[in-house]
């Protein structure tokens, strides 16, 4: 588990990017419902490391982040792409310990 930031730094429905020791990047989200999620930051459609900058919301009640490049939606809990179920992004385990957000390996 890698500590990435204090929970208080996260603004609801606004992601941040974090760099893991192996050089991979995660997008970390705190939703307005109070849950914390971590997904791979690289958008599989464009290859750009930008998912943390997507708009967070829901599609049919399923919490999603929408890639800012070509607007595909990714489910926050599974990483599955709702617009193209054959693709998706990795989901990282995430815990909050003593107010610090920590991310594990996918």
């Amino acid at each position: 588990m890698t500590p990435v930031c204090e929970l208080s730094v996260l603004q609801p429905d606004r992601g941040v990017a974090a760099l893991l020791p192996d050089g991979s990047q995660v997008a970390v989200f705190l939703t307005s419902a109070g849950t914390v999620h971590a997904l791979g930051n690289i958008d599989p459609f464009s290859g750009a490391a930008v998912l943390s900058r997507g708009i967070v919301g829901d599609r049919g009640g399923v919490p999603v982040v929408v890639s800012p490049v070509y607007k595909e939606a990714f489910e926050l809990t599974t990483g599955k792409c709702l617009d193209d179920p054959s693709t998706g992004v990795p989901v990282y385990p995430v815990v909050v310990i003593d107010g610090v957000v920590q991310v594990g390996s996918p």
């Binding site: 974090a18 970390v28 750009a48 599609r59």
Partner: protein, 839 residues
């Protein structure tokens, strides 16, 4: 292809015949050869007076025949017909045999035999070349400070010509032999109002008289009217009707009418069974039709006959609706109550400036026709009802809005008279699901693609058929953007979370969040990255820069009007050099700096803001640029200072958030170097002030902006733009550009003009106040970020490693600048190949 059709003449009707035959001739039976005397292919002569708006002949073009089966020979007139051997010969000596020949030679303007009618300065009004000639005369007169003109003819064409002259800065005298203006279409009451309305535009109307002579006196022309009036003029335009061009038919023995026109039967066939005549050169049932719609009907009849059909001329609908000199005029059916016992019902509102008449049968049960002047919005509903029962009291048909009965059209009523589409045709494509909206109906049936006057009716048919035109913003809100704007404005709600909890459901999405953020910003709710608003923004607005394909951003400082000092230019160059940014000049007369990472953005902007730059909002659905030509300060041809106005407008509307991006331009003269008519609002200088155009668009569906006000002073211009923009911001749908917004308004441009020029809704003061508030509250968004540590802290690459560059971003060099290396895309097999190809 076994047979050859030769068409003589490529005007609108000849063009239509080619289109109609090619569409129907699915087995390619006919090869088509067209010979045209004119040097340019067919164009929209009905819209000729709009040529004056931009002097761009291309904007009148009709769709070219992009088809191997069609040969078009321009500037090559048919001069000989050998009917026995079925061969024609042209001026260039070309010989062409035919299986069928169609004469579509059109007409020539009628010039009354007035002494002096051939003097320089006297023109006719029919072709683009005629208008170029009129323009040359008018410009010569302007250069000696004179602006006097006369149009002979006060009918439809005469008023069109007067309109064209007005567009050139001349308020002409209009001389009509008949007792009133537009004697064919309008009665005395309607003409009286029409005269009053056009006299307000400085036209001088002389009726019941004609020109008895025209003489040259030095640079001027002196016209003497038969009533004794003498006019001192620079230009004279004859626009007193047309005469069919039947000389070719006459020379080769085809039967022509006593008063001209090639005599044809109901199949449009002449006295030679292999030869047809259509349009203004044809005499059908003793009539020569000078309108395009009957000509189109004839073209359709001939196309059908050539393919073995039995079509007959359906009879001409002489109904007319047009806007002359800004005044709506419509005339339909038995407008003059010629039918025996016909009764007239008139509502003449001198205060509102409207005149409406319906003509009904002697028992008041059947609608026969009518006339509308000043307001023709009821035309599309009334015209199809001609010959049908009147629902209720006839006066209710033309009474004040809301009082009338709910009209329902019978199924066989013609909805689109330009393309002869009846209601049933439209209902069929709606019910079969082929068309779910107005563009769909247009594509399936062509209805609404001619003059467009039936478009409101198409919407009505959609809802009659139960097609819900859902305007819900997204799955989280049932309201349209316009409704949500009003909700936010009237409730004073300032946060998305309150709005969605009270008026929506769920958590929101990438559709509603930016839309609501835009509404909040339009209503001046502080910085767009303040508090919760930051979470609503699309990435561009979130980082106040434009996301590029590799995850970096581009930066565009505002350069109002495209004017920049060398010092500031150097600063941009230095910033680009120091941060290694790819640099490109944009189409909006400013400079785009590419390849900045999120953590570089504040550093770049610190340098720019310190040098006096501010955000250019290239990232926002907001005002982008007001482009300008160089104007009177430098240009030899400019008539107004376009640069100063462009800067004033850009500074006034900078930062204004709107449903979609807004672009503008100001041109200093009619040469239009700033391309203002391609913009959401464009301004073109005139000798007397400014012309304002709205609803222009580049992009997927290019569209020229429409003139909404002419010759206004700067103060009026700015008021009009304030109102236009605020009305758009309040009522448009999400991501709807001004062009489609205007099209979607019930009543279109006319309605928009009524609202923002005539203040028909009484909201102009409110719109202006809202804009004044925006202007007062404007603050540079980038300065706002630099001055607020909390906002600044969000511009980091990694929350746990600020300052560490994103390892996925890399560049290569091309033509001396860095460009992105395309990224490998792990889950797509083709992506690596793609990267190699572009390397």
């Amino acid at each position: 292809m076994t047979r050859t059709l030769v068409i003589v003449g490529h005007g609108m009707v000849g063009h239509r015949l080619v289109e109609a035959l090619r569409e129907k001739d699915v087995t390619d039976q006919w090869r088509i050869v067209v010979f045209a005397e004119e040097t340019r292919p067919a164009y929209d002569r009905v819209a000729l007076s709009s040529y004056v708006d931009n002097w761009d002949a291309d904007s009148l073009s009709l769709a070219p025949h992009d088809d191997d089966a069609v040969e078009l020979h321009l500037n090559d007139q048919v001069v000989h017909i050998d009917r026995d051997n079925k061969v024609v010969r042209t001026t260039s000596g070309r010989v062409q045999s035919y299986d069928a020949l169609v004469l579509a030679t059109g007409s020539v303007p009628f010039v009354p035999p007035v002494p002096g009618r051939d003097l320089p300065g006297c023109h006719v009004y029919r072709t683009i070349e005629d208008l170029d000639g009129i323009r040359a005369t008018v410009e010569a007169a302007h250069s000696s400070g004179r602006h006097a003109g006369m149009v002979l003819g006060g009918g439809l064409l005469g008023l069109e010509a007067a309109n064209a002259l007005r567009g050139m800065g001349i308020s002409p005298h209009v001389v009509e032999l008949g007792p009133r203006l537009m004697p064919l279409q309008v009665d005395e009451g309607g003409a009286g109002l029409l005269k009053r309305l056009v006299e307000k535009l400085d036209l001088t109307i002389h009726t019941g008289t004609s020109a008895s002579s025209i003489e040259r006196d030095g640079d001027r022309l002196i016209a003497k009217l038969s009533n004794g009036v003498e006019l001192d003029l620079d230009v004279v335009v004859f626009s007193a009707g047309i005469r069919p061009r039947d000389e070719l038919a006459r020379s080769f023995g085809l039967q022509v009418g006593e008063r001209g026109g090639i005599i044809v039967d109901q199949a449009c066939r002449t006295s030679d069974e292999n030869i047809y005549a259509i349009g203004e050169c044809a005499n059908l049932g003793g009539m020569v039709y000078g309108l395009v719609a009957p000509g189109y009907s004839m073209a359709e009849v001939v196309a059908d006959r050539l393919l073995g059909g039995e079509a007959e001329f359906p009879g001409a609908d002489m109904s007319t609706k047009l806007k002359l000199l800004g005044v709506d005029v419509a005339s339909f059916g038995d407008a003059h109550a010629k039918e025996e016992g016909a009764l007239e019902v008139v509502v003449n509102d001198a205060v509102a400036g409207t005149y409406a008449k319906v003509v009904v049968s002697d028992d008041a049960k059947t609608l026969l026709g009518g006339i509308l002047v000043g307001d023709a919005t009821k035309y599309p509903m009334l015209r199809p009802l001609v010959g049908r029962p009147v629902p209720g009291d006839p006066v209710a048909l033309i009474g004040p809005a809301g009082g009338g009965p709910e009209l329902t059209l019978p199924h066989d009523a013609q909805v689109c008279s330009c393309h002869a589409v009846i209601k049933q045709d439209i209902v069929d494509v709606i019910n079969s699901g082929e068309a779910v909206d107005v563009p769909g109906i247009k594509a399936c049936t062509k209805a609404g693609t001619g003059c467009g006057s039936c478009v409101p009716l198409l919407k009505k048919l959609l809802s009659e058929c139960g097609v819900e035109q859902s305007r819900a913003l997204c799955e989280h809100f049932d309201h349209s953007r316009a409704d949500l704007f009003e909700i936010v404005r009237s409730t004073g709600i300032t946060t998305f979370s309150e709005l969605i909890s009270r008026h929506g459901r769920g958590r929101g999405c990438d559709l509603c969040k930016p839309a609501i953020a835009s509404i909040l910003a339009s209503l001046d709710n502080g910085h767009v990255l303040e508090g919760e608003q930051a979470t609503l923004q699309d990435t561009n607005d979130r980082f106040l820069a434009n996301l590029q394909r590799n995850g970096t951003y581009s930066v565009v400082p505002r350069i109002p009007g495209g004017e920049i000092t060398p010092e500031k230019l150097i600063v941009i160059g230095e910033v680009a050099r120091d941060f290694g940014l790819y640099t490109k000049i944009t189409g909006g007369q400013r400079i785009d700096l590419f390849g900045a990472t999120v953590d570089q953005l504040p550093q770049i902007w610190k340098r720019l803001v310190d040098a006096g730059f501010e955000s250019g909002h290239a990232y926002g659905k907001a005002l982008r640029t007001v482009k300008s030509c160089v104007g009177t300060t430098w240009c030899r041809y400019g008539v107004q200072d376009s640069v100063s106005l462009a800067i004033e407008l850009e500074l006034r509307y900078r930062g204004l958030r709107s449903p979609h991006k807004l672009k503008s331009a100001v041109s200093g003269c009619a040469r239009e170097c700033a391309e203002a008519r391609g913009k959401d609002f464009g301004v073109i200088a005139t000798e007397n002030g400014w012309n304002l155009y709205v609803g222009g668009n580049g992009g997927f569906t290019p569209r020229h902006a429409d003139l909404i006000a002419s010759d206004v002073d700067t103060e009026t211009l700015i008021k009009l733009i304030d109102r236009f923009l605020m009305f758009y911001i309040r009522t448009a749908d999400r991501l709807q550009r001004t062009s489609t917004w205007i099209e979607s308004l019930e009543g279109g441009l006319d309605h928009l003009r009524a609202v923002i020029v005539d203040d028909s809704l009484g909201i102009c003061a409110d719109l202006e106040a809202a804009m004044a508030k925006h202007v007062d509250n404007y603050a540079d968004e980038w300065r706002g970020v630099l001055e607020d540590p909390e906002k600044l802290a969000r511009f980091t690459s990694f929350v746990n490693a600020p300052g560490t560059p994103d390892p996925t971003i890399s560049f290569r060099e091309e033509r001396g600048q860095k460009v992105p290396v395309l990224l490998g895309v792990p889950s797509f097999s083709g992506a690596e190949n793609q990267a190699e190809v572009s390397r």
